[in-house]
Amino acid sequence: MTLRERLREKISAAFYHHGLLCASYPVPIILFTSASILTCCYPLLRLPLPGTGPVEFTTGVRDYTVPSHEPQGDLGERPDWYRGPPVAYIQQVLVKAAVSPWDSSLVPVDVFRSPLGRVFSLLEEIRNHVHSDSTGVRSLEALCLQVTDLLPGLRRMQSVLPEHGCLLVSPGNYWQNQRELFDSDPDPLKTIQKHEPKGLHTSATLRDLLFGVPGKHTGVSHYNRKRVVTYTITVVLVSYDTRFLGSLRSRLKQLHPSANCSLRDDHMVHVHFKEEIGIAELIPLVTTYIILFAYIYFSTRKIDMVKSKWGLALAAVVTVLSSLLMSVGLCTLFGLTPTLNGGEIFPYLVVVIGLENVLVLTKSVVSTPVDLEVKLRIAQGLSNESWSIMKNMATELCIILIGYFTLVPAIQEFCLFAVVGLVSDFFLQMFFFTTVLSIDIRRMELADLNRRLPAEAGLPPPKPGPLRPREAPPPPRPSPHTITLQTPAFRNLRLPKRLRVVYFLARTRLAQRIIMVGTVIWIGILVYTDPAGLRTYLAAQVSEQSPLGDSGGGGLPPHLGVAPVFHAGDPTSTLSVLPAPEPTPLPENQSQGHHGSAGAGPRPQVPPAVPQITWGAEDEEGWRRLSFRHWPSLFSYYNITLAKRYISILPVIPVTLHLSPQEAIETRHPQDTRHPPPPIPKVSADLQTDLTLYKVAALGLAAGVLLVLLLFCLYRVLCPRNYGQNGVAHGRRRRGDLPCDDYGYSPPVSEISPLLLRGHSMDIECLASDGMLLASCCLAGQIRVWDAQTGDCLTVIPNHGLRRSSSSGCWEQRDGWDNCHLLRRRSVPARPTLFTDQPDLTPLIDTNFTCQPPSHLATPPRGGFDFGGLVERAYLEHESPSPSTYPSPSSAASSSPPSAAHLQRRRSLGDAPTLPAQDRASTAGTQATADWDSSVWAMELRGNLIAAGRSSGKLELWDAVEGSLRCSNEDGVSGITALAFLNNRIVAARLNGSLDFFTVEINKPLGLLQYRGAPGRGSMPPSPCYSSEDVISCQLTRSVQCAHQKPITVLRAAAGRVVTGSQDHTVRVYRLEDSCCLFTLQGHSGGITAIYIDQTMVLASGGQDGAICLWDVLTGSRVSHVYGHRGDVTSLVCTTSCVISSGLDDLICIWDRSTGIKLYSIQQEVGCGASLGVISESLLVTGGQGCVSFWDLNFGDLLQTVYLGQSSDGQGVRQLLVLDNAAIVCDFGSELSLVYVPSVLEKLD
């Protein structure tokens, strides 16, 4: 016992107790968990809401001091970021210029050419402004922000933006701040346009940067109704000097007074920028979120076999989300303020934490035995998975620890979050999710209690829950040895109403659609609420359309109520030292006059003859109308980031310029008049902006439609309608539809032609093969031997005991058959259509009459028809070569009193004790030992010996080629329900639960034993070939009397082991050599219905409880245990990688053998669920209504469907046998079909 083992045990025990606790007190635990979640999330309330828009803070200008770095106690509304000096101070000089009065001789270019030209003199003025007082001389050079190179990617802007000097931008930058260049520029508009980016742009354009006002407001265009040109000169200062700025302000105001200007200049605005998430960054974010949702969707879809799938999925998502919230909350509580962008790392955190544990827990709990108490189920499920959960968690923690030692701050922080998230996720899984799961399981038990047939009397009595009265009344309790089964269709009808609602939801995929719509809406909200996203862009577009539009998104803090002290145009105590250049004579009067006339009211349509310059409130903070990426982008050109820093914007300096027409004409470029603007621009200018908006809208719409289409296509393609769902959801197929049409498509063309083997008169019951030969036995007791290669009928061993099949007798026989059919390893579902099979006998009877010798007409009338006549000829053929060569007890002794079960089981055709005396006499004469009274219940074929177990308990060995009885053994009295024939041993299981081991001894006259190599893969030991001269005897070597308490239902032998399964819920493993019982395997909570064992000692068993167990044959321990079927498991096959099971629910499930995870399931035809076989490692064959289907095991794809014949459409394949030569044999009704699979043959070679 290593440390690991001990640890594992301890963990398992701890989880077990924890599971008990959770399931016992669900409500207090959920309350406790919710409380702790809320407590941990409480610190989150103090965090600012996420958002990327800039935040503003306004202070007065007069008492402004640079804020200190240290956080100062209670400064009230002062925000956290307002610490330390700003990145820069922005001083804007807002220039409004107009040519007035407007002259009809002026051309449109004049509107902006001379006003723009004035920028150079203003620039000169600002650059050269020097303030000197007692503290020294200050100039702009000393105060402004000195910039270096532009970013290397911006070569094209090099000519326009300043480098290596003051960051001073103005429209003059277009012409390198040189008046001469401007004057010689034939088309300034073109120059401006040249630098505009093509296509869509989300950040500030160069034009916005240089003009400092939104492009629409500059008035620089050929069509300008107001004829006022607006632009700014933006000075970026690195330090704040009150005196210098004051003197500059008064100087400019003095030179260019703005008479009617009442702009407030008493407060400065500090703008704090957050980490930017532009639309470009939003796309990766949205993508990660889409991936996250896909991940959650695909994960939660795997939750199966629970009461409320969506409830549990919701619980899983809540678990993960609240664990993240808790982690953020806890981190905040301990002072680790998140510096990472929460929205960005969130999806990765979810992916790291994952939903796997939750799913594993669910699966584990669901696959515990259903008959246990809920508490115990939860506890068992938890403890089963405890080790893997702990291991996973330890691994993840290790990985995160490694990540922590990368010593990269961002990764360290991520790891810290992930650790706290993991731990809180574990906590929530253990407390919250487990409890929710226990509640769910309890609900399911209550609802399921009456639907699930109690397999044994030991089940806890149904709890008197509130659901009880609404449930359908429980079916009548069956007798212990038989089980009545409703037809699948009938079972479906009895689903509770709630379940039907759920199925309806599942069928219409309502919930999935709602989630899809929800996702789209959520993304929409995300985009809409994100201030950096589309909305601002669109808002900016819209506000550009309307000149008065206020685009200052977000509530502005109220301006500090400082009374204006500086009045407009009032030069205060500043002095300009340098003489200003002679100001241009201003047409004061006209300006005033125009202003007066403006009071009369604006004339909206007709452009005013005299342009008027007005100053309004919107000019006060003109920068608000700019894109709020304006400043970040300006600084980013010089590789200065404003993220998480702030700038201070000083009040603008208004400058009004009035130019005379004279001046405008003087500054004209010769080309200005030569190119009169076309009349169209007026429209086109408007149209252009309009078109941009429309283009954006159209593009957005098209992209949206495309996205929806793409999503839809992906959805349709990726989610086929029946992905891993139990077949109930997609509705039952109508009768008369195409066969094998479960997936809604017509079957592909068949290239394989089946071989029909006809001859049996009644339904085929037993089928056995050794690869070369094929033996079949029908209900009439006739055994036919076929060549498995060619399909020729070699031998017919008739049954003379057939007597009666009157219709009334048939009905009750059928009833008896239906009651007990489950005892046999082959289950024929009872369905009404079976009764229609009954008239099958009529053709048989007709033929019988035609060839009947007249003597048979004398048979007693109550005997009905003589079936013996049917095989008369064949019987006569074999009469001569089969003289009895050995002594045998008389057949009369074989009619021992059958047990009660025996009688109930089948008083059918063969058992009818109404043998005519003459037949009996002839039988006794020719083949004295043949027991015609009983029917064949089990048959095996090895070499050329057929072993047949009869209902009378007699074991017969027939020569397959000659059709002669070689020996028989009558040591047992109870009917043989199953046979196994391995090497020279025969094992027979009897109805009374005993197990007999026989040895076949061959006494060769020549002492020679020929061996005929068995064809195929060599997995089977070569069967000895017995020649007709041999004397064969069959000795009972050992009889285990009470092998099982109840009838043995399944018997399988391979690899020197004999495995039996019984109604008493146990599986027993015997050694073939000495018939010693090695193990009794317990674990099923119902009778065993299917067993699989092969040469590699793989043992699987399935029971009536729908459970499948995998066992280790060497140790007798249970390897895995899964619940897969609602109802009995009818058939089981294993390959090296997977386990294939079929159940009474007509579902074939494919499980991963090592992990026990269900890979997928295939919905079968009604009543054909049991017929399946594996041809090769990856080829599965299943039977259907008159057809067989081939499936690719790896992918679960239907490869081909082969129809067995026109007449057989109505009948389902009930038994399917895979031969070694890659042929399959299946029976439907009275016919056999031999299908070769050529492609597999090639593969095998």
Binding site: P197, P284, I291, P720, V749, D1152, L1159, D1192
Partner: protein, 208 residues
């Protein structure tokens, strides 16, 4: 012949889906790189819609389609069908981790390039171990990553585009890791899509 046609349509459908996934991822991930000025394209292209040259997404799309088709093909040739975590949730997790690796390469500020490259290499190998674990996947990933790195070197050498701070000849040293992770991711998607091969066809025939 019908199966032939089915096979071809199917291949085309899968190829198209892989192509679109590749284009989408290329656009998104390139956006991450361009934002941080890791790669530089001529400036007038920067302001175009998706901030990269037109030829990048189609190239990535084609490459991912080829990889995505190659993986299941090689699996079937080798006769060892990929059994490890064949679920869409796992594929989604893989894609998310891949985007995360790209994110880290673009956004996380590392002390030096060696550290960054080593971290990313570890992450890529971790991606392979978590979601693939097949030898063929590893080999193919390494091979294609080397080829792609070579191609990128040539492209940069010819001046088609450039990296801001190359530290491995002309490119960034983490590029092979990204390529490797990308190959693993696309292979994962391709394998998962191959699972649905027949169902797509069958459903289509039904709709017809």
């Amino acid at each position: 012949t019908t199966s032939n046609i089915n096979g071809t349509t199917n291949l085309v459908i899968r190829g198209t889906m892989l192509f679109s996934v590749g284009v989408f991822l290329a656009l998104v991930l390139n956006l991450l790189q361009v934002q941080r000025n890791v790669t530089l394209f001529p400036p007038d292209v920067i302001s175009s819609i998706f901030s990269s040259a037109w030829w990048v997404p189609p190239c990535c799309g084609t490459a991912s389609a080829m990889i995505g088709l190659l993986y299941p093909c090689i699996d079937s040739r080798l006769g060892e069908p990929h059994k490890f975590k064949r679920e869409w949730s796992s594929v989604m997790r893989c894609v998310a981790v891949f985007v995360g690796i790209n994110h880290a390469s673009a956004k996380v500020d590392f002390a030096n390039n060696v550290q960054l490259s080593l971290t990313l290499a570890a992450l890529s190998i971790g991606l392979w171990w978590t979601f693939d674990r097949s030898r063929s996947g590893f080999g193919l990933g390494i091979g294609i990553a080397l080829l792609a790195t070579l191609a990128t070197q040539l492209l940069v050498y010819n001046g088609v585009f450039q990296y801001t701070s190359p530290d491995f000849l002309y490119i960034r040293s983490w590029l092979p890791c990204i390529f490797f992770a990308g190959v693993i991711t696309m292979g994962n998607i391709g394998r998962q899509l191959a699972l649905y091969e027949y169902k797509v066809v069958q459903e289509k025939t039904h709709q017809d």
